[in-house]
């Protein structure tokens, strides 16, 4: 019997190309894990939009192919050239240019599989006409349509007659780092991680809230992890000019590309705060923070209930409400038992719901009707 052909999984971006960070987020992780668990030939293709991609070392075995540009015609040419190997095509978000890409793919591969990960928030969901023929044609062409949050899954199930699967943005332990938190060793640290200064991340809210209650929690510090966007730097300077006493207690680490170092940040912290105005599903940072036993404090994004497991491992405050966030932080720091109990539950919850091994197995089953492991 001839040897079975090695299957291929490809992902193409809606925009020009992939960022370095996306290699280790859901965009890169899903194809990478199809390679790792099921032996797929995994490829992320797109224009090179960053000078370097240091995270490629974490997804070893997955090919990152750079296209000459990010034009739609280039992506269509790429599909023409690689369709034979594209047994599974993964697309992230909903973008009109996917219609042409999916149509082209289906012309070559009616037998292939398409996984559309709708990186949705309610803002976008409300502004997309899901019943329009062109949108319906795109959804019809997909084998699995996923959203990253329960509330968004329910929301979408009410909006259009499609099977909308819950495929959360999970956590994957690249470096086999021991994420098991030592709760006794955790420090009085409030942590946030991400691209600091992006308007939708609303990071200044946490800085302001911390300043508001800093005197009430003198033994707590705030760590802000992630590259700082250039337009945000003047704010940081003015912040320390206004609160010079906080220079010792508020630290900006900058971008941490070493996953082990990043894991240590999560493990050290007791509280993780997310201040986003909107997110598509559960942000990856939530899954990582849960895995490290952090108590979650999140703004009321669409996936807030998922992030805190309905309040079992965290609290939700209204988006952009500085006073409520400050009150939550002040209240929590006076209640170490609650933080510890929530942190223990967070670890268990992360294993059940946000473990990428679990997520990808379910996705594989949805696509192929079997457990490929």
């Amino acid at each position: 019997m001839a040897e079975k052909k090695r299957r291929g999984v490809y992902t193409l971006p809606a925009y020009a190309g992939w960022t370095n960070q996306q290699l280790t987020k859901n965009c890169g992780l899903v194809p990478y894990l199809f390679h790792k668990y099921y032996g797929f030939h995994a490829v992320m293709a797109g224009a090179k939009i960053e000078d370097s991609y240091p995270y490629m070392k974490y997804v070893s075995g997955m090919d990152v192919e750079f296209l000459p540009d990010g034009e739609l015609s280039t992506k269509l040419d790429y599909i023409d050239a690689h369709a034979e190997d594209m047994d599974l095509l993964i697309l992230h978000g909903y973008y009109p240019n996917y219609e042409a890409m999916v149509k082209r793919y289906r012309e070559h591969r009616p037998d292939g599989k398409i996984y559309l990960e709708l990186d949705l928030n309610s803002w976008l969901a409300d502004r997309t006409s899901w019943r329009m023929p062109n949108v319906a044609a795109l959804l019809d062409a997909c084998d699995v349509i996923g959203v990253a949050g329960r509330s968004m899954q329910r929301y979408m199930a009410r909006k259009c007659p499609y099977k909308i699967e819950f495929i959360p943005n999970g956590f994957y332990n690249f470096a086999d780092t021991d994420y098991t938190p030592d709760f006794a060793a955790k420090e009085n640290i409030i942590l946030t991680v991400g691209r600091i200064g992006l308007p939708e991340k609303n990071n200044d809210l946490l800085l302001e809230a911390f300043a508001t209650v800093a005197d009430e929690l003198p033994d707590w510090s705030l760590r802000v992890v992630g590259g700082i966007e250039a337009p945000f730097r003047p704010y940081v300077e003015s912040y320390f000019a206004r609160f010079p006493a906080l220079r010792e207690r508020v630290s900006f680490t900058g971008l941490i590309t070493d996953r082990n170092r990043l894991a240590e940040e999560y493990k050290r912290a007791k509280i993780f705060v997310l201040t986003s105005i909107k997110e598509g599903g559960t942000p990856n940072v939530i899954a990582e923070a849960l895995s490290a036993g952090d108590y979650i404090v999140t703004s009321s994004i669409d996936a807030a209930a998922d992030a805190v497991d309905e309040g079992r491992c965290g609290e939700v405050f209204p988006i952009a409400d500085r006073e409520r966030l400050a009150n939550v932080l002040a209240g929590l720091t006076r209640n170490p038992g609650r933080i510890a109990q929530g942190g223990h539950h967070a670890v268990e919850y992360a294993g059940d719901v946000f473990d990428y091994g679990v997520i990808v197995r379910r996705l594989y089953y949805l696509l192929y009707g079997e457990d490929g492991i």
Partner: protein, 326 residues
């Protein structure tokens, strides 16, 4: 690569979605010999028949049809219906008179010399093999008798899915429908099935056995209309799964769980087909959650996930009752 595989006495189908699926264990025919005429069923006979069937499936598999591997699988499944059951049987083939039809027609007298093979073909040749009884009438409007056939092999693309209830009711109780579905066809309108084979091109072979409950539902369809039928089918399918959840989850077998997941997924399809008519907004979501809980338990058998299957099932059924949708 989908296709028939013979391993010792067993015929398998390499399914594009499910891996290797057992179609026929010829050894079981020998084991069940007491239920048949013994002179037909001895060890040599099994081996000779096995080799004949092997040759026939290879012959069909080499056919020009784009779903020839499924046609070969259908032939094996059809033989399973006839072999070792010594009484006259009636087979209806609705579709082209291709090499699989001819091969099967020639085999039928081996199992019982009064077996009958009827065929309605879109392009019926003037001369047909002796074993075949051509039904020369209008292809689309052919009225089917009730409780008449033991096996119906159907090309859904040729007949249209709207004929499915009538076709199923033409089966005798316990009869089997084997239906070829082209790739991309609307699965939601296909009735509950226990087996679905898929080839590499996405073509499917669905088998549906006419149970008394299904027959009752199909007859009601003409009275209460399509929507009610769909809703009753959904409830029926979910009840079928729910009624056996305990043993299903206690069993260490993956096969029954896979079948339950396929049925839950099909119920979800049918729910979506009546989406606009549902009174509850949440039934599609809850149906998906139930399916998801079954998949999670299938993949990781923990007590917590087992409890979740029951919770999700109860939530779905509660919502269906609450909104008087079903």
């Amino acid at each position: 690569m989908s296709g028939i595989v013979l391993d010792d006495r067993r015929f398998y189908f390499d399914d594009a979605c499910r891996g290797r699926v057992l179609l026929l264990d010829t050894g079981e025919v020998l084991a069940n010999a007491s239920r048949a005429l013994l002179h037909y069923i001895d060890d040599d006979y099994v081996w000779v028949m096995r080799d004949n069937l092997k040759n026939i499936t290879e012959y069909i598999g080499r056919g020009a049809d784009d779903n020839s591997s499924l046609r070969a699988a259908a032939t094996v499944l059809a033989v399973r219906e006839f072999w070792g059951k010594y009484r006259q049987r009636r087979l209806m083939r609705w579709g082209p008179l291709d090499r699989s039809a001819i091969a099967l027609a020639k085999m039928l007298p081996i199992f019982h010399d009064e077996n009958l093979f009827f065929i309605v073909a879109p392009d019926m040749p003037e001369a047909t093999p002796e074993a075949i009884i051509p039904v020369r009438t209008s292809y689309r409007t052919f009225p089917l008798p009730e409780r008449d056939f033991d096996l119906f092999i159907l090309d859904v693309a040729a007949a249209g899915q709207d004929r499915l209830p009538q076709i199923l009711l033409s089966l005798r109780p316990g009869g089997l429908l084997l239906a070829f579905l082209p790739a991309g066809s609307d699965f939601s309108r296909v009735l509950p099935n226990t087996t679905c084979l898929t080839d590499n091109a996405g073509n499917r072979l669905v088998s549906v056995r006419l149970t008394p409950e299904l027959a009752r539902l199909l007859r009601e369809e003409t009275v209460v209309g399509q929507l009610a039928r769909q809703k009753r089918l959904i409830a029926y399918m979910l009840d079928e799964i729910g009624g056996s959840l305990g043993p299903l989850l206690a069993s260490g077998e993956n096969g029954p769980l896979d079948a339950a997941i396929a049925q839950a997924s099909l119920a979800e399809d049918i729910i979506l087909s009546v989406y606009e008519e549902l009174l509850s907004d949440d039934i599609p979501w809850l149906a998906n959650r139930f399916k998801e809980s079954l998949i999670d338990y299938r993949l990781r058998r923990t007590d917590r996930l087992r409890a979740r299957v029951f919770d999700e099932y109860r939530a779905l059924r509660h919502d269906m009752k609450e909104y008087d949708d079903f």
